[in-house]
């Protein structure tokens, strides 16, 4: 009797964590929630333009539904938690104070490009997009291809 119990316990422990203490299943679910909360608003916005204030709600809700459909409750819960963080973070930043960059509470950093995405849209404002929150870009040290720099000369 005692031997069977110890085998079962050992099997359960090995399925939950690796020898070094990483909860792989948890990491995958939380990472998936992060990706879902960022990608789902972009996908929905491409079909049906969203009010920027709704991005966080759509991201969290979409992540929750994705978790329900995939039968991964951890993914659902993590999506809600990340949505709350995105909503509360700007307020906390303003309380903690100081200058520094203001992270947009909505769209994510997006693709890293050598030229910032908003700069491409120069000239007179023609779309509502021109007033949306900044898509921050990061200076990328990658070598530019001809298609990227051809219009600069």
């Amino acid at each position: 009797m005692a031997r069977r119990k110890s085998k079962t316990t050992a099997r359960r422990r090995s399925s939950r964590e690796s020898a070094k203490g990483f909860y792989t299943k948890v990491m995958i679910d939380v990472a998936g929630a992060g990706i879902a909360t960022r990608l789902i608003p972009i996908l929905v916005n491409s079909i049906y333009p969203l009010d920027p204030t709704l991005y966080t709600v759509v991201g969290a809700g979409g992540g929750y539904l994705a978790g329900r459909m995939l039968k991964r409750p951890l993914l659902s819960n993590a999506s809600i938690a990340l949505g709350v963080v995105e909503f509360v973070a700007p307020m906390l930043e303003s309380i903690v104070g100081g200058g520094g960059s203001v992270s947009p509470a909505v769209l994510p950093a997006g693709v890293k490009t050598s030229v910032p995405v908003p700069i491409k849209k120069t000239g007179m404002v023609t779309t509502v997009d021109d007033f949306f929150t900044l898509n921050e870009y990061t200076n990328s040290p990658a070598v530019q291809s001809n298609s990227e720099f051809r219009n600069s000369y």
Binding site: G99, V102, T122, G123, P141, N146, F149, S152, Y153
Partner: protein
Amino acid sequence: MNAKDLLNKYMYPGYMQNVVRKQTPYFDQLAMVTGTQDYFFFVNAPAPFVRNKQLPVSGTEVFFIEAISGYPILNHITTAQIDALNELLQQSYLEIYIDNRLAMKIPGLDFVNYQYADAWSDQVVVTALKTKIGGNLNTDGFLGRKLPIPLVMNSNSNFTFRLRTTGNAVYNGIPFKLVLHGLQLDKLQSFEWDDLKNNVLQQIPFTFYETTVIPNGNQNTFPIFQNRAIADNLHSGTFPLSDIETFSIQAMEVFVNQPDVPIDPATIWNSRLANELFMQIDDRIYYSGNLVNMLSLVAGFGQTLTTTPDLDVVNMFEKRQTLILDVPINIPANSKTLISLSQPAGSLGITGEFTVALRGLITRRVA
């Protein structure tokens, strides 16, 4: 929320939310003086028709410099004025420092636009014909230096714009206008644009240029970007690069000017076409070709007609072209780089100068 409120929500920035993008240039104008070599822009207070901005920008603004152009307000119609213009193009530069680190050093060739015309004169009266505007011509018709990566001006950055010239007397009292073309971003609260984040590498637009005197018409090979000891206004850098930077060449131009004793510019053009530009990096040949698609020339030639009414005529020749590389030529840090320009025997344009300009991006370590 009614339609008006909904639209206004997008049109005006909300706190902690939107940013307004405006395409607006910053311009400043300074009068040049004989013998004065250095001019600093955007340091004086705004004045109507003279300057519209004094740096730094305010805390709620960020300005992206997308292009730079300059313009001396003078119609160049004599060979003496073209000679001064050549000095402005080949022996002058604009230096931009951001937070005490060099961000750009570009020759006048890159960004100075100029007005010029053929001229007829009968003793005293001078008539300018077919006045034109020239400069560094881009594929979209813009005259000036466009930047493949914008320079970001935050309110907390210390910016210096210095124009170094030769102080030629021809430009005494002539206004020089410098324009920064770009996009201004406004928010309701102070903000800065952090383009580096946690990167340790930074990319900046740069032009490697060197101006070399043509001593004679003999067959000769001129090494370019090899001599650190030449005058500061005649070059912007040498190879090999330091160990913390690499350079990607995206476009090239070779510019030839009017000799001290002017000759027919058409002769100079035909002679210089046969020159060859050679690039070797770490023992590999990356470029070897003549100048057909990258040769530029600004020169004037005066003649006195010998038939009545004995007019003096000045013919201007202006052609600008840049070779945009389909595949950029990348120069690694600390690499063995040899760049040279060769001329055959019997070359012309003696006592003039040529400038080789390589335009592209430097990738360098931030700290």
